[in-house]
Assembly symmetry: C2
Homo-oligomer: 366 residues x 2
């Protein structure tokens, strides 16, 4: 299945990123958005040409594209699909919304043609939104869920698989219901939990915030995202997210109850807390590591660096000289001081070589 021309409806972060990826692979891309500014920006970024649906839309578009990618909020997917199908905009259709059951249900209700449509969802995103945050490699190596139904045509599915391939993502075929339950537990409910933890900081004293470390920063990072966007996602996956949140809330209420009992001298309550902490470790350990595989056994070398130009260049120069591949790097800045620690993840057997080489050249390796 070759895709010569693709229509992207909705030039936000996901739509524009897909358009950029397709353009890189030589696909002709047409762009549409209710917001003319968003289309213009996407076009200026090289994402494609503006879609000319014709003056009188009832006459249909000037041409029929191979595939239309509907990249609008979940609540608008079905009506957009209906409208595009009505004017015969494309041979095949997909959407990239974060939830799948509700839009599919609504599309069936509205009488959309479900043979030419296969729902999908790339698992990629950023804290930033809009076409300006788009990038061609957003989907590179990421999972992209594909949710065919028994109505889906073979060619429609092939067209969406080709889209996923052109974007460099990995297709994961899953039913819409399984998809929605999965993202509830690995994405949507964690988001709400992060918001609830961050919400507690609104009442905290300045002294308390001054004592904040990396842990609370990590837990609450995603709580900084756009509430409007997330309301749409959560509303579209309401029941599965509610189920996970009920379980999380129950665990936290139970932990709180056990801590209350402990505070009143009931030492037997520690069992429940230990159980929750241990289940947390077990769940944490199930998350796949880098490159999609299990967590690799990298070791970390810590190097003290100054907050000046050139320090990192010199540091990585040493790694290069001694042939050590840095798998990951993390800078830990010391709050209040122009000093920090670079944590370099390397293969365990490279540790002595790298440590010696760095120390020889005067680096402080604690």
């Amino acid at each position: 299945m070759e895709l010569r021309t693709v229509l992207v409806v909705g030039t936000g972060l996901i739509g524009t990123s897909a358009a950029l990826a397709l353009r890189k692979r030589g696909v002709r891309v047409l762009l549409a958005d209710r917001d003319p500014g968003a289309v213009r920006l996407a076009r200026e970024l090289g994402a494609g040409e503006e879609w000319q649906a014709g003056e009188d839309q009832s006459e249909g578009p000037a041409e029929q594209v191979d595939l239309a990618v509907i990249a609008v909020p979940p609540a608008h997917v079905a009506s957009e699909l209906l409208e595009l199908q009505r004017i015969g905009a494309a041979r095949f259709y997909t959407d990239v919304a974060s939830v799948k059951v509700e839009p599919l249900h609504r599309a069936a209700q509205l009488g959309c043609d479900l043979g030419s449509y296969v729902a999908s969802h790339p698992l990629a995103g950023r804290e930033k939104s809009g076409p300006g945050a788009a990038r061609a490699d957003l989907f590179l190596g990421r999972p992209w869920a594909l949710c065919p139904t028994e109505d889906s045509g073979t060619e429609a599915k092939a067209a969406v698989l080709r889209l996923i391939e052109l974007c460099g993502a990995n297709a994961v075929e899953v039913s819409a219901a399984d998809h929605d339950r999965a993202v509830a537990v690995v994405s949507h409910a964690p988001h709400v939990a992060a918001s609830a933890v961050a919400a507690r900081l609104t009442d905290a004293t300045d002294v308390a915030l001054g004592l904040a470390g990396q842990g609370v920063r990590d837990v609450t990072r995603i709580a900084g995202s756009d509430p409007g966007l997330w309301l749409g996602i959560l509303s579209g996956n309401a029941a599965p997210v509610a189920e996970v949140l009920e379980a999380v809330a129950a665990d936290l209420a139970e932990a709180a109850g056990a801590l209350r009992a402990l505070a009143e001298g009931d030492g037997t309550a520690t069992g429940e807390i230990t159980q929750l902490l241990k289940r947390g470790v077990a769940g944490h350990d199930r998350i796949p590591g880098k490159h999609g595989g299990p967590a690799a056994p990298y070791s970390v070398v810590q190097v003290v660096i100054g907050d000046r130009p050139g320090q990192l260049a010199r540091l990585f120069q040493v790694c290069d000289e001694v042939g050590v591949n840095v798998e990951d790097v993390r800078l830990e800045h010391a709050p209040g001081l122009p000093l920090g620690i670079a944590e370099l993840s390397v293969q365990p057997d490279a540790i002595p070589t790298l440590t010696d080489a760095l120390r020889e050249r005067g680096w402080q390796v604690p």
Copy 2:
């Protein structure tokens, strides 16, 4: 107040790190731990000499040190203090436990001398524990809470302030009760929330885990820590943590209820969800940024890199050549592919220079 000799009781991560910091500043350090292997390892790391308490401990130690740093789990702080004071081990005493009210209360109950003792708590830690994870700069620029009471002697407080200074940390004077409420909200409760979110992953399907992105990884990172260590911390701060967890659980239960109502067609329930998401953003935005000040307005340049030795060296070399200081770096690996994105945080006005320079040299800057 000069500290010539310091006794560190408990050579875990915090105790050994303090010992290493003190050694660097020329202080003589004596080490003690119930586990002879932990003392030996700390000594081999250069953290100091083994403490000789004398064969018959009732005769007292061979010498009285200036300050004893009690770095044992919260539940053992008071009994350790009592024992050390009984043999006259030090002129002054502090502890570094993560909770303050309970150990102070217990010390008073046991009849410890509260004039020579000032409780404290460095806000620094790592996911790893034990002397092997220690480093001299663990406390550099970090807050170190100091909790004097009306019983605390002036000299004792000066001795602990000097310890904090020698470790390169910033002293934050706060009452024990305020300290415990603060760490409940910025550290202890977020930890339990992360565990509860991670615990949901134990029941998730492999497909669901395959759809996990950076968000859930960040939210659950700290849930990988040692349950035994955290049970001790949570038990020692039970009531304040319970209070925060009750509020988080209530918010999540309310969000779940609103989502259930939405799923059943009650559109008015969105207000509660939006409110929680917005409170989350407000709380998130209160966390101080890098270097202890407000979040700095850095901009991010993304560069596509290969997973090969030398790539980062060449990348940072370019930054150096054009005089651009990289404030932070984050590697995003594409799961399943030997490619990634380096996200370089730089001053906004350096963006054009850096982007042009990188593109000229053939780097892919999306």
